[in-house]
C-alpha cells in the first residue's frame, strides 16, 4: 500500500503507533529521526483527508445554497 491510497483510519492508527514508540524512547537517533519523519508524513496524510472531506462538504453546501427553492 502506498501513501496515496492509505485510508484515513490506517494513517491515524500508524501515526498513534509512531508517537507511542517515540515517547517510549530507547531508539537510536537515526531510528528516532526516521520515526519522526514518518510521523510527520502520516500526520500530513491525515490532514489531507480531513481537508478534502471538509472541502467536499463545503462544496455540497454551496451547491445546496445555490439551488432554487
Amino acid at each position: 500500500m502506498t501513501d496515496q491510497d492509505i485510508s484515513y483510519e490506517a494513517a491515524r492508527g500508524e501515526l498513534a503507533a509512531v508517537v507511542e514508540k517515540l515517547e517510549a524512547g530507547g531508539t537510536t537517533l537515526e531510528e528516532s529521526l526516521a520515526l519522526w519523519e514518518r510521523g510527520e508524513e502520516l500526520a500530513a496524510i491525515c490532514q489531507r483527508w480531513l481537508d478534502g472531506a471538509r472541502a467536499r462538504l463545503d462544496a455540497a453546501r454551496r451547491e445546496r445554497a445555490a439551488e432554487p427553492g
Binding site: A16, V19, L29, A43, L57
Partner: protein
C-alpha cells in the same frame, strides 16, 4: 346409412331455407327448459300486446339474450321489475323461423332480492378467500412515486375529480391515464374488466386506481362481481380500490393490493405529498450535514492531539536531549583534565621546592665558589688542571672567567 346420405346437402342438392330453419329449430329445442341467472338490461312492454320483451345480460361478460314472457308471468313473479335488476328465470330457447332469430320464452321470472344478492356475495367471499385470492402475501406494494397512474372511474364523476385534484395537490407533476367506464348497471363489469386490461398492458402505468363514489348497496354490486375480482387479482399492476364510503366493503376491496376508504384517500395513498417530502429531505440533509461536520471535527481534534504530543510538535527535543548529553560529557572531560593539570602543577611546585632545598645557591651566598671547566665539569683536585687552562668561577652573584697561571 342411407338416411344421412339422403339428408346431406351438396351443391347439387342444397337445402331449402325452410329445411335449415326447421333443423335449427329442432337443435335449439333440444336444450329444453333451463333456469337462468342474469341481469335485466332492457324491458319493453309494447302497448297492445301481451308479450314483454326483455334483454337479459350476463353480469360479468358482454353477452346478452332476448327473453319473451307473457305479461302475466312478469306480473306474477316480479311485478316491479326495473332495468338493472338481477333475475332468475325459467325459460326455453326458441327459434323464430319467420325472422331467423333466437329468444328464450320464460314461463317464470323471479327477481333476486337484495338479501339473496348479499348472501351470494358472502358465499363468493368465502369461496375467493378459500382460493387464496385475499392472501396478504399476494398484495403488491404500489410504487412510492408512480410514473403514471391508471384511473378507472365514471366519466366526469365526483370520484374522478376527487382523485385527480387531490393527487395533483400533493404532487403537481403527477401523470394520469384515465379510462372512463360505466360504474353501475349491466355494462359496468365488462367495461371495468376491459379498462383494467388496457391499463395493465400499458408499461408506463405502474399503479391503477379503481374508483367510485358512494352509492346504494345495489349500485356497488358490480364491485363484488366474481369476474371483476378475478380480473383485479390477475392484474400484474398494483391496484388500489377506492369504492364508496369508509363503510362500504365490496369484494374488490379484498382482492385489491391496497384498499382506500374513499377516492380522496386513494389520492393520498398513491402519491407522496411534495411539500412533506421536501421537508423530510431537508431534515435528512441537515442531519447528514451535522453528522459529517461532527465527525470531521472529532477527527481533527484527535489528529491535533497526536500532533501536539511533544515528540511530534517539538522534534528538536530529540536533538536537544542528545546535545545536552554531549555538553555534559564535554564538561566532564574538561573538568577532569583541569583537575589533572592542577594536580600536576602542585606536584611540580613541591618538586621544585625540594630541588631548591638541595641547591648550592645558599652555600655560594655564603662566599663559596664552584670552579668548573668550560665543559661544565666541576674541578675538585688541583691535579685536574694545568697552567693555561680556562676555568669558570660560579659565584652567588654570577660567573667569573679565569685562567690557571701556575700549579
Amino acid at each position: 346409412m342411407s338416411e344421412p346420405e339422403k339428408d346431406k346437402s351438396t351443391p347439387e342438392r342444397p337445402w331449402p331455407v325452410r329445411v335449415v330453419s326447421q333443423k335449427i329449430g329442432a337443435w335449439v329445442g333440444k336444450l329444453g327448459w333451463v333456469w337462468i341467472d342474469g341481469q335485466l338490461a332492457q324491458i319493453s312492454r309494447r302497448p297492445g300486446t301481451q308479450v314483454v320483451f326483455l334483454t337479459l345480460r350476463d353480469p360479468s361478460a358482454d353477452l346478452s339474450l332476448t327473453v319473451t314472457a307473457h305479461r302475466d308471468v312478469l306480473d306474477a313473479g316480479a311485478p316491479n321489475l326495473a332495468e338493472g335488476a338481477r333475475v332468475v328465470l325459467h325459460a326455453k330457447p326458441e327459434f323464430y323461423p319467420a325472422r331467423g332469430t333466437l329468444s328464450l320464452r320464460a314461463d317464470e321470472i323471479r327477481q333476486v332480492g337484495l338479501g339473496e344478492l348479499l348472501a351470494r356475495i358472502e358465499r363468493l367471499k368465502r369461496l375467493l378467500a378459500a382460493e387464496g385470492l385475499f392472501d396478504p402475501r399476494l398484495k403488491r406494494r404500489p410504487p412510492f412515486l408512480p410514473h403514471r397512474i391508471g384511473l378507472v372511474t365514471g366519466r366526469a364523476s365526483a370520484a374522478e375529480r376527487d382523485v385527480l385534484t387531490n393527487a395533483r395537490r400533493r404532487w403537481p407533476a403527477v401523470e394520469f391515464r384515465v379510462v372512463n367506464v360505466a360504474v353501475q348497471g349491466p355494462a359496468a363489469v365488462p367495461q371495468m374488466i376491459d379498462a383494467l386490461a388496457v391499463l395493465d398492458k400499458d408499461p408506463d402505468v405502474d399503479v391503477i386506481i379503481l374508483a367510485r363514489g358512494g352509492g346504494s348497496v345495489e349500485d356497488l354490486l358490480p364491485f363484488s362481481d366474481e369476474a371483476l375480482c378475478r380480473a383485479v387479482s390477475a392484474c400484474r399492476t398494483p391496484i388500489i380500490s377506492a369504492i364508496g364510503h369508509e363503510t362500504d366493503t365490496p369484494l374488490v376491496d379484498f382482492v385489491a393490493d391496497l384498499r382506500a376508504s374513499t377516492p380522496t384517500d386513494a389520492a393520498k395513498r398513491v402519491v407522496p405529498d411534495l411539500a412533506e417530502e421536501w421537508q423530510r429531505i431537508g431534515q435528512a440533509r441537515a442531519r447528514l450535514n451535522r453528522a459529517m461536520t461532527g465527525l470531521l471535527d472529532r477527527e481533527q481534534h484527535r489528529l491535533d492531539l497526536l500532533r501536539s504530543r511533544p515528540v511530534l510538535a517539538r522534534p528538536e527535543l530529540m536533538v536537544d536531549g542528545r546535545l545536552a548529553d554531549l555538553t555534559a560529557l564535554r564538561d566532564r572531560a574538561g573538568r577532569c583534565l583541569a583537575h589533572r593539570l592542577s594536580a600536576g602543577t602542585d606536584e611540580l611546585g613541591h618538586t621544585l621546592a625540594r630541588l631548591r632545598a638541595l641547591s648550592p645557591a645558599a652555600t655560594l651566598q655564603r662566599g663559596y665558589a664552584i670552579v668548573q671547566r668550560p665543559d661544565g665539569t666541576v674541578v675538585r683536585e688541583p691535579a685536574q688542571v694545568a697552567p693555561g687552562d680556562a676555568l669558570r668561577l660560579r659565584l652567588a652573584g654570577g660567573e667569573v672567567p679565569a685562567t690557571v697561571t701556575a700549579s
